[in-house]
């Protein structure tokens, strides 16, 4: 997970969850936003992993 965006979105999700206790009346909102950030984090992390895997395969095929 070397795409820095994945870490950034993970941190954003944690920040949203951290303030959730201050506004219990908006729990639905904080949980939805945190979930959205987790989806972004996962999407960017897996996209990056796929790209790296493809790059490794390409290098291996060139080398061998």
């Amino acid at each position: 997970m070397s795409d820095r965006r994945a870490y950034f979105f993970l941190a954003a999700a944690l920040a949203v969850l951290a303030v959730q206790g201050l506004v219990p009346q908006y729990r639905w909102l904080t949980l939805s936003v945190a979930a959205l950030y987790l989806v972004f984090a996962l999407a960017f992390a897996t996209a990056n992993l796929s790209a790296r895997r493809a790059s490794i395969k390409k290098r291996q095929s060139l080398g061998g």
């Binding site: 954003a12 303030v19 201050l22 936003v33 959205l36 950030y37």
Partner: protein, 330 residues
């Protein structure tokens, strides 16, 4: 009405003007940076929608400022005056430094600081301050998430379109609508903070009962002041917002403004005073982050972040000093 109250109301309207001057630049930064409108027409566009916002939004935010930050028993005319002076001084300092800080949080910090110096921490209403504090974090993060989501949707819908010029032309037109929506949200949320101050003054001097709603003349004068402030907008901050954070394309401008407008509409409907500056900054970063992290100029974003953190305590300290001076002179 006593002369002190009239002076505070005039200072509140002056604050509203500086709020427009300082914050409303956010409404037009993306429109100007994507060259959809010239700066002159952009400020006129934003000022118009700032003014007509009173037709759409109720006055929940004004009630929060007047009744949910500091206990009404502690809100004397002198305290409100000192709070306003603290917020204005903080705004002018950050304007001079070119930092897009929040006028709204300067106002909340100013009111809290001025009241605490006179009556201790017990005068603060923890529930109201907790909601405002939580949305300091939430409003930019909601703006960011929505902007990123919209950017992804736009890219997904239009990635096969080869006619870039035509596409850009369409988004430029779309930006007129999204900038108008953002200006509505800005007028709706920020002008109400001044209404809240004036409402608190009118209650403090006994001109209105404690459970009174905002009178129409207060609504109209607050929207007029913020619209005039927008017309004289601050270009130092437009540059920081529109040019320094990230480079925007018209589609990015639409995504950022629509996301920020949606966040402001929600906050205004819920009576939560949020910062238009925080919200649009988050949204612009969201658009930049959809490309790559290096598309966002993090040094500028970091400078903005520090300004956010220091706004409430900074304005509170300045207002506390003004509060002691006002008390000594009274």
């Amino acid at each position: 009405m006593e002369i002190g109250a009239i002076i505070v109301i005039l200072v509140a309207l002056a604050f509203d003007f500086t709020n427009g001057f300082h914050d409303a630049a956010n409404s037009i930064a993306t429109v100007v940076s994507t060259r959809v409108l010239s700066p002159r027409y952009a400020v006129m566009w934003a000022a118009f929608f700032n003014f007509v916002a009173f037709l759409i939004f109720s006055t929940h935010v004004a009630n929060t400022i007047a009744k949910d930050v500091v206990a009404q028993s502690a809100l004397t005319v002198g305290v409100i005056f000192a709070g306003l002076l603290g917020a204005i001084a903080w705004n002018l300092l950050t304007f001079w430094l070119g930092l897009p800080t929040s006028s709204s949080h300067a106002l909340v910090g100013g009111m809290a600081g001025a009241a605490v110096v006179r009556g201790g921490f017990d005068v603060l209403i923890s529930e109201g301050l907790a909601t405002i504090g939580a949305f300091i974090v939430l409003s930019p993060l909601i703006g960011l998430a929505l902007a990123l989501l919209l950017t992804v949707i736009i890219q997904w819908l239009f990635h096969r379109n080869k006619d870039i010029d035509r596409l850009n032309k369409g988004f430029r037109r779309g930006q007129l609508a999204s900038a108008a929506a953002f200006s509505l949200g800005h007028g709706g949320n920020d002008a109400q903070k001044t209404m809240g101050i004036i409402l608190a003054v009118l209650i403090a001097v006994g001109n209105l009962p404690a459970d009174a709603e905002v009178p129409l003349w207060v609504v109209l004068s607050a929207h007029t002041a913020i619209a005039l402030g927008t017309l004289f907008g601050g270009w130092r901050i437009v540059k920081t917002m529109g040019f320094k954070l990230t480079k925007l394309q018209p589609s990015g401008g639409v995504a950022a403004e629509t996301a920020a407008a949606a966040t402001l509409f929600f906050a205004s409907a819920q009576g939560i005073p949020v910062s238009t500056t925080h919200t649009i900054t988050g949204a612009i970063v969201g658009v930049g982050a959809s490309r790559r992290m290096s598309a966002v100029r993090w040094r500028v974003a970091g400078r903005v972040l520090w300004a956010w953190i220091f706004t409430i305590p900074g304005a509170a300290i300045v207002a506390g000093i003004f509060s002691l001076i006002v008390q000594a002179l009274a």
